[in-house]
Symmetry: C2
Subunit: 327 residues, 2 copies
Amino acid sequence: MKRACITGGAGFIGSNLADRLIDGGVEVVIVDNFSTGRREFLAGVASTAGVRIVDGDTRDTATVENAVDGCDWVFHLQANADLRRGLEHPRRDLEQNTIATSNVLEAMRARGVKQIVFASTGSVYGEPAVFPTPEDAPFPIQTSLYAASKLACETLIEAYAAGFGFTGVICRFVSVLGERYTHGHVFDFYRALKRDPTHLRVLGDGRQEKSYLHVQDCISAILLAARHHENSASAHVYNLGTDETLVVDRSVELIAEHLSLTPEVEHTGGRRGWIGDSPLIRLDTSRIRALGWRPQLTIEQALLRTLEWFDANEYAWRDEAMESALS
Amino acid sequence: MKRACITGGAGFIGSNLADRLIDGGVEVVIVDNFSTGRREFLAGVASTAGVRIVDGDTRDTATVENAVDGCDWVFHLQANADLRRGLEHPRRDLEQNTIATSNVLEAMRARGVKQIVFASTGSVYGEPAVFPTPEDAPFPIQTSLYAASKLACETLIEAYAAGFGFTGVICRFVSVLGERYTHGHVFDFYRALKRDPTHLRVLGDGRQEKSYLHVQDCISAILLAARHHENSASAHVYNLGTDETLVVDRSVELIAEHLSLTPEVEHTGGRRGWIGDSPLIRLDTSRIRALGWRPQLTIEQALLRTLEWFDANEYAWRDEAMESALS
């Protein structure tokens, strides 16, 4: 891999991936519209030779064509990641995920770039009948607009592989934790406890089981799969996760302990935190393990690293609304 | 069912469905952009009381909102059905299928209409490992942009069911034959033999096995499933097909016999007629059969009815290009 483009390269996973690739001597083009991506995450690489940062949106074709030009891989991570609010803005997932992915694929085709890694999600399994859930689980019924749009992206990539000889590596992630993690319930709980150390409101019954993966383990898996399938001109799907799960209430406990707090925990009730929330996500990762990958960190280690990073980087979670609440 | 909207209602399946609903006393709003739909197919119902014909496109939100208003069901059949040319226009399936379906769903939501039947395709199974292929077959890899977009539509409908309480009936069709059939290889073969009775070029090796269903059997299944799930506020997937298959070469034989011709048949070779073509489609239809449905016609009967309809309706296959070839 000589040159790679990362869409969403100023985001949580994207900026960590950029660091890893740059350390490995890869030239990197970072595309980000900085809606959730942060310039602080790129501070360490912004002036590195061979790094180009494009302030742009994947919905703009010219921007993407320009960014992917001369790359041998595109890591397409930019997406609307606001799972829970899909129902308030039903077009957002379609536009920012499905249509944007079509744009990226068309830009790649226009410039003769044919290898793409796509960040998908374990949510595409909906409410699976099989646990741990393998990649070839029974054809699922979608339960959220977010997952529906991610699956639509997967199918586009597969069709480009079949029709245009693209190499597609589709990674279905569990929740990812670690340095620069900036959304999801661990983030929400940490901030909420900073705002009100005495009381925490938890969506659902707190017994939802979630699986998590540390961002560096996630990136190791992505790069392994990409290198394994280089120039294969076909599409490959991988579940990425640990074999453990953590109940939501246990993450609350760990966060409270870490902050030396004993908040009163209120559950809103119901098996699901929100419509489309999966009460249990546990993926069968034997396919990526068969390539030799193993996660280096347990879920609790990944969670603690995340909390330590929050402690050291207030800017990442302390926004203006919080300033006034805390002042 | 008191009032229904049919998108693509001037097309092959849509216009037959309109006839059936109108015969059953249902008020029908037909939306069609007449790109492949034909006014001739609506001649019998255009002046019927309770029938409204809207010359418009599902990509236009105002048109769709207006059309679905007051309906208790929407039969969303309008689509880009040009499977084979997906690779020449990679955005077409996205725009005419995925985005158009999002528009229809948003229009329905805006007007409080919550029940939709969607015409999907057995091609969403890609190249399945299991035959006959059930609805919960292993999570497939897509092989065409057409099927990818149809699956994207399915996932949107499922997410609207989960998120907004929509009732969705998703029907995965095999190829449909019968009166007003106007595209697909039976149509192509018939026309080609009318143009040149001595010679026929067949894509692939001619041994591709396809399953077919007569349009009236298809409509009976659609209506049965819709009525069965009325007000269920959830999504339901059905395979629709016969349990038989017909090899492409056998359909060529039947068409030639019907026309009393003995053409020289040339095969272009390869297992697939085109990239994304399925060499074998056979769907497990036990789910729809469990509701009491049975096809009334065999594949050969359906094919013969189609050919007889061609004989009696030259306008449907004899276009200007053919006029000059035949004159």
